[in-house]
């Protein structure tokens, strides 16, 4: 073992600022939310001054079997979130990102630069700017409808009639660059002779993809899926497009939490939602850690 550069005391001293920061802004809010989720704390009214302990009441409200799947309730919101995650993260971002990365594997040229630049541009722009641009794009008099009309198709009120589809497309467009970059750098690490051997052997493009590229990318795909699942699960940006509506039809979990906590000011209930969301994230992250550890074991 290498000898430590700093003594234990000194290293603790160096760690202190970070520990204080973590304690103040991560550990304390976590426990305070956990504690708050068992109260009826609110912003206004009697419960604002004297919040009372309500036990598991908030959780029971959330999981009330009668209302659970009604619009604007948590079950419905989780169902929308699941569709949103599967549509925009798994199929949209990961699928499209993998497609682009494989299509441009070992290729150079203007088209590749153009596609990569556009994807990365969509990824690095500020949320509000992007949301406004998409708002204009999907507006009844917006760019998309004008293009549709130009080719003789009927215009749609996208954000009103297809709110979930709209935010799925939006989030796919917004986040594909990450998966694309991850996969294309993973592909770049595969020796060219692997694919060339398959070329000489006589493998078809889909055989090369199925037998060589996909197995070698498996670990990267797992990492990518978990990361973008977590991010998409927690994203709030679609609020800027649809506000969760109309009539809760794009009310994904982050927006639902916001509504309960910061619109209806039911801090206790919102805290309970936050705790549940945290648990879901914890499960997803554990799956990710499990997969990446078993991958390391495989390599070793």
């Amino acid at each position: 073992m290498q000898k430590a550069v700093l003594s234990r005391k000194l290293s603790l001293l160096f760690l202190t600022p970070a520990l204080v920061f973590v304690a103040l802004f991560l550990v304390y809010p976590f426990f305070s939310i956990f504690q708050m989720s068992f109260t009826n704390r609110a912003l206004v009214g009697a419960n604002a001054l004297n919040p009372q302990n309500v036990g598991l009441q908030n959780y029971m409200d959330l999981f009330d079997t009668q209302d659970w799947m009604r619009r604007g309730e948590m079950g419905h919101s989780l169902w929308l979130t699941a569709q949103f995650v599967i549509g925009s993260a798994l199929i949209g971002q990961a699928g499209l990102g993998l497609g682009i990365a494989v299509a441009f594997h070992n290729r150079k040229g203007l088209l590749r630069e153009l596609v990569f630049t556009l994807a990365i541009a969509a990824w690095i722009m500020p949320d509000v700017v992007v949301a406004f641009a998409w708002f204009a794009y999907l507006d009844p008099d917006g760019t998309l409808n004008q293009m549709l009309q130009a080719v003789g198709l009927r215009p749609q009120d996208w954000l009103f009639d297809y709110p979930l589809l709209s935010i799925i497309l939006f989030n796919t467009w917004r986040g594909t660059a990450f998966s694309m970059l991850l996969f294309s750098s993973a592909l770049a690490s595969i020796p060219p002779s692997y694919v060339e051997t398959a070329d000489v052997i006589g493998a078809r493009p889909w055989q090369k993809f199925r037998d060589i590229l996909l197995p070698l990318l498996r670990g990267y795909i797992a990492t990518d899926l978990i990361l973008i699942t977590l991010w998409t699960f927690n994203t709030f940006t679609p609020f800027l497009l649809t506000g969760g509506g109309p009539s809760y039809r794009s009310n994904i979990i982050a927006i639902y939490t916001y509504e309960v906590g910061l619109r209806f000011f039911q801090f206790g209930k919102a805290s309970a939602i936050a705790v549940i969301v945290m648990l879901i994230n914890l499960v997803l992250a554990s799956i990710y850690l499990f997969i990446s550890r078993s991958r390391q074991r495989q390599i070793a």
Partner: protein, 360 residues
């Protein structure tokens, strides 16, 4: 089984001319080595035969059929890469069997064929392992086995032994040569190692700067190097090349401030050499005799260093600004005085003009 013909192949990468006007015929069952220093175009030539690179101009024929515009998978060639390109996620069985799997051979037939080939190459014990668990020599055999199972018309080797250590390399050389004889397949082998090319090939193609410099059997190339490049590339140690000038009945060895003359009576001088013309004299290390006393037509030099190689020894002598290597077929060089005399065997002299080409 196939013959190969290359006709005026040319390939550029941007402004770099990788291969320039290469024409070559390879007979059915022949083992041909493309030999040259790095960047001479040998690998690009091989990759054009495989179909992994497309030539800018020129044509490639396999068995008389024009394959210039065919993709790699339709050319029926097998290739072994320098890094072996074994798939880390597949077992050895799956690796060797992959060419069969691609063709839709059934699992049982695939396993049977792979086992037969693996037994022949003595790697049947390894079939359930993965490439990462194999030594370099074993990986090399697996890569060759995958090419054999492919039953292609042509084997292409891209420096397949350069990742092996010296001892394994010698073993692998014998193994490859034996295998090629046994399978009787046409093989094109790229290497920068002249000893490897000599040991393996029926025919050596020496390349330099994108073009072919000389084609011949290993012995032809060794005995009659067509120019100073080949002369200095083939043989270990390579031929001694001395700048000389013809001066009447004397041949002057131009060695900086120590110009010495030897008589030309017994030399078969090329007719193109006339008095005063400058040329390069080539002589292999084994064709110089070392004397401790001056004799007729010897040149004087200073002992520089001796090297003991076990079965033979090398003596390097400094003459002016030249270093001349002499090979002695004895295990150890005898004790030598500081000043020695070199006597050239006049039957074994090569004369190269100022353009580097051999003079007839």
């Amino acid at each position: 089984m196939a013959s190969i013909a290359l006709s005026h192949l040319r390939k550029t990468f941007g402004k770099v001319i990788a291969v320039n006007d290469v024409s070559l015929t390879i007979a059915d069952g022949e083992f041909v080595a493309l030999l040259g220093p790095s960047g001479c175009g040998k690998t690009t030539t091989l990759r054009m035969i495989s179909g992994l690179e497309m030539p800018d101009s020129g044509s490639i024929y396999i068995n008389g059929k024009d394959v210039t515009n065919l993709p790699a998978r339709l050319r029926d060639v097998a290739m072994v890469f320098q890094d072996y390109a074994l798939y880390p996620h597949m077992t050895i069985l799956e690796n060797i069997g992959y060419p069969l799997k691609v063709r839709g051979v059934s699992k049982n037939a695939l396993t049977a064929q792979v086992q037969a080939v693996a037994a022949n190459l003595q790697i049947d014990e390894l079939l359930m392992r993965r490439p990462g668990q194999l030594s370099g020599g074993q990986q090399q055999r697996v890569a060759v086995a995958r090419a054999v199972v492919h039953r292609a018309q042509v084997f292409l080797f891209d420096e397949p032994l350069s990742n092996l250590d010296a001892k394994l390399r010698l073993e692998a050389r014998a193994f490859l040569k034996h295998l090629q004889r046994e399978v009787g397949i046409t093989a094109v082998y790229v290497t920068h190692d002249q000893a490897e090319a000599m040991a393996l090939a029926d025919k050596i193609v020496v390349m330099k700067e994108g073009g072919i410099v000389q084609v011949g059997t290993p012995l032809e190339i060794y005995r009659y190097p067509a120019n100073t490049f080949v002369a200095s590339f083939i043989g270990s140690p390579p031929m001694n090349l001395l700048s000389c000038q013809l001066d009447g009945s004397q041949l002057q060895v131009l060695a900086g401030d120590d110009t010495q003359s030897i008589g030309i009576e017994r030399m078969a001088l090329p007719s193109r050499l006339t008095a005063g013309s400058q040329f390069t004299l080539g002589i292999r290390p084994e064709h110089i005799r070392l004397k401790t006393t001056p004799t007729a037509n010897s040149i004087r030099g200073h002992l520089y260093v001796t090297q003991t190689l076990g079965s033979e020894s090398l003596v390097i002598v400094r003459v002016g600004d030249l270093l001349i290597t002499i090979r002695l077929f004895q295990d150890e060089a005898p004790p030598l005085p500081d000043v020695v005399y070199l006597c050239f065997e006049t039957d074994h002299l090569f004369f190269y003009g100022q353009d580097g080409q051999v003079l007839q």
